[in-house]
Symmetry: C2
Subunit: 110 residues, 2 copies
């Protein structure tokens, strides 16, 4: 799976609360860096650094617009995370069900 690395990078990136906040705002609609920095409790350079991480994780991309860089979500990265989570979700459900059944069986035959 080529997307596996991307999914894990995405999870690492979204581990930080500030980065999650930035991600949510970018997801709402594409924004420039100054717009993101306004309304956040951190400095503009901090936002730039977070955006760099999000970009390297494949979660966002940017397009130039004059001196501004408009950041938007990269659907592929988000999709990769979603797939990873879905896979584990399904696997976990199955494993958990089997585990619960075994427990129940053990209990019954005591």
């Amino acid at each position: 799976m080529a997307n596996l690395k991307s999914a894990l990078a995405g999870l690492s990136a979204l581990g930080d609360p500030t980065r999650r906040e930035i991600f949510e705002r970018v997801a709402e609609r594409p924004r420039a860096v100054v717009d993101l920095a306004r309304g956040l409790p951190v400095s503009r350079p901090a936002v730039s650094q977070h955006l760099k991480v999000l970009k390297e994780a494949g979660l966002v991309r940017e397009v130039a617009d004059g001196t501004r860089r408009i950041y938007h979500i990269d659907p592929r990265g988000v999709g990769a995370m979603r797939e990873w989570l879905d896979r584990h979700w399904r696997g976990a459900l199955a494993a958990f069900q089997k585990f619960a059944d075994d427990e129940h069986e053990k209990e019954r035959s005591k």
Copy 2:
């Protein structure tokens, strides 16, 4: 949404690579702490601490079996994360589509 806090806690917890590794192994099948510690590059107490975080994030649960504690996935926590991601994924797709359309329109009418 009562699950929102749970989803964010889950993302924070899975931000750490070691914790992700532990989570994946527990997802594969329920395991005891010693079994998890074997094959990981960290000590057993470290695994215990990670499991505590995962548990507080609602991602795993444990049942006692003699002196062993068998950890398994908590489907509810994983489900909450999945929902959060799905919601943002859909929103981001829509916003991105609109953004791309606008860009295209701008280009066309140059």
